[in-house]
Amino acid sequence: MKRMLWLAFVALLALPRALWAWDAQAVLDVVPTAALVQQQPPSSPWMQAETTEVSGQAALSHSQTLAEGLSLSGTAWGLADSLPSGSPFETPPGKVDIKSRILELKLVWEVVPGMLIWDIGKKVIHPSSGFFRTPLNVISHGPLGNAANINGAAVGTWEEGWIGTDVTLLLGNFTISNFFSPRMLWSSQADSVLQFFSLPQNDFQNLTRLDVRLGNADMRFLGLVSSGGPGSSDPGVNLQLGAGVDTNIGDSITVRAEVSAANSQSRLTVADPLLATVSTDTVHWAPQALVGATWTNAQQLSLMAEYYYNGGGFAGSDYTQLIRYSQNRRSTYPNAPDLLDQFGTLSAGRHYGFVRISGKLDDTLTAAGWTQVNLQDLSGLTGILLTLTHDTWSLNGSLMNAWGTRDTEAGLSPLLWRIDLELTLFL
């Protein structure tokens, strides 16, 4: 496997030098964290443990013009993590846990320059304009690795793409694109090799997008058809639809709104909160929606606010049951499924808010503070971040804290606080 990777690397080096050429980024994170953990689950009690996780990530990118209108670009990424689980009792056998992946590798051909573009390979699909939640990212692999989320964004520095082919047609104020991604499954034996290239792709997926420029506003509509196909455990055809808009108001404000919904979404619900038992149900066309705005002044002080509605989340008595279930799960039934995190961190309820303020302290130093709030129980996450940026490196120092009483979503999170010192090198 290593030999294959080296051969691929040497082959890339042998290509003529592109204008953009090579680009590399390395990130070193030192993350002291306090979390609630169990030494020997499920019998031992939960206890607070402070631990320091050290992780290093690196990404190497290349973009190559092969001919007029034909280019090849790719990004390889690797992560070495001293504590991937976050628990001091679960150190990896080899001291560090190593992961690596080709994030993107695509051949782009402008069949008609500036008008008809054909991509093939591995490509990131990210239509959402949301910052702390991304309802229009209807096909997403989720956060990559175990890197700390220090600025409150839904997506970190790097994203992993999907293997498939994309055709884009730009016509006047319209853009129509169609991305098809095949089903790709392999044995666990093959996975020891193929994991470096891609995650398995469980379904056939076809995403059609229409983007329209209407005056100052950009509108987008998308439809995703997916199916496991014949022989799959889920051979049914599923549909997801979405729409979004963003625009400017004057010189200082941008606003955005987007919504998506799936014809069918299965979720775990509480059957009995006292015994911590669950059942599965299906919700139909439950919308996820986001509205947000960013205001910036001439001194580069920026204020962002977003509201997120999660139609598949829980509200009212269902939410009360969920909190009761999670309390019992923590105290008595630690092996019961974690229902709070089934849609991601801080997403079990229906209503969430996000506010972020950032500004320049001087020419190289910026400061930011952000908070995510569950508006149903007023618990949340808060972070502050200082960034020192120079031409070839940046240094981030951040502190994140989960707050809320023991009958709230964030109050029930095992995470208590986290400090992150992050050094990024741009090579």
């Binding site: 592109a18 204008l19 993107e104 990131v124 730009l170 940026t389 031409d391 741009f426």
Partner: protein, 250 residues
């Protein structure tokens, strides 16, 4: 008889001189340096007094004039911003970070680089966006100049600068100096220097833009390379940014 002929000639010359309206003269000033489909490598260096605080090298191309221009810009240097791509379409700005696929919509104030804003970077003409309120004769550094007082057109009310004072050398129609203001407050002062013949036009290769309130803060924009690149109109679309492979001017 000779005196009569000279008098007639003088009248004719005066008539010819003023046959061109101030707005037409401004259009001629723009035309003297306007290059359709300009591609460039531009260095932007910001100073506070004599101390350099920031420097960026940009590659890109621009199409159209005035506030209707559209430009694609890629950050080539320093390494911390390399790979960022930006589309400016009038007052609308999109920024695509490396390794992401969805360009973020920014407000014009979010993309200030030093003392230079979007309009300063790519401004190719004044006559599209401004009416001439007055035109007078003056001198600047002992060089005879036209002094244009410009006010923003009704249809361009969303422009960053509502008024512009423009000093233009009479002989060459080179813009020498400009003051950009909103109301009575001067926001920017720009000096245009190092005019060179390029692409059959007289182009200022250096523009020095000072903050109106703190003149110690200034940004020098220097063209490193210029060329022409004709591209389809659809290239200036948000959805094209991720497919764009930046190239230096040929």
């Amino acid at each position: 008889m000779k005196r009569m002929i000279f008098a007639a000639l003088a009248v004719l010359m005066t008539t010819a001189m003023y046959a061109e309206s101030p707005q037409e003269l401004l259009a001629r000033v723009d035309a003297a340096r306007y290059v359709p489909d300009l591609s460039f490598v531009l260095q932007m260096t910001s100073f506070e007094g004599d101390k350099q605080v920031d420097s960026n090298t940009l590659w890109g191309f621009v199409k159209g004039v005035g506030s209707e221009n559209k430009s694609l810009i890629a950050f080539a240097d320093p390494a911390s911003v390399r790979g960022r791509k930006m589309l400016m379409d009038g007052n609308i700005v999109y920024l695509l970070f490396p390794k992401t696929t969805n360009p973020i919509r920014l407000s014009p104030l979010q993309i200030l680089m030093g003392q230079a804003s979007n309009g300063d970077v790519v401004r190719t003409g004044f006559s599209q966006d401004y009416d001439v309120a007055s035109l007078t004769e003056t001198t600047r550094n002992d060089v005879p100049c036209w002094l244009f007082s410009l006010t923003v057109k009704e249809s361009r009310k969303d422009a960053t600068y509502k008024k512009v004072q423009l000093w233009v050398e009479k002989d060459t129609l080179h813009i020498a100096y400009a003051e950009f203001s909103t109301g009575d407050r001067v926001l920017k002062q720009a000096t245009y220097q190092d005019y060179r013949k390029a692409l059959d036009k007289d182009i200022p290769f250096v523009m020095d833009i000072h903050d109106g309130e703190n003149p110690q803060k200034h940004t020098v924009m220097t063209y490193v390379k210029l060329g022409r690149k004709t591209v389809a109109e659809t290239v200036f679309r948000r959805d094209y940014l991720q497919s764009w492979t930046p190239e230096q001017p040929r």
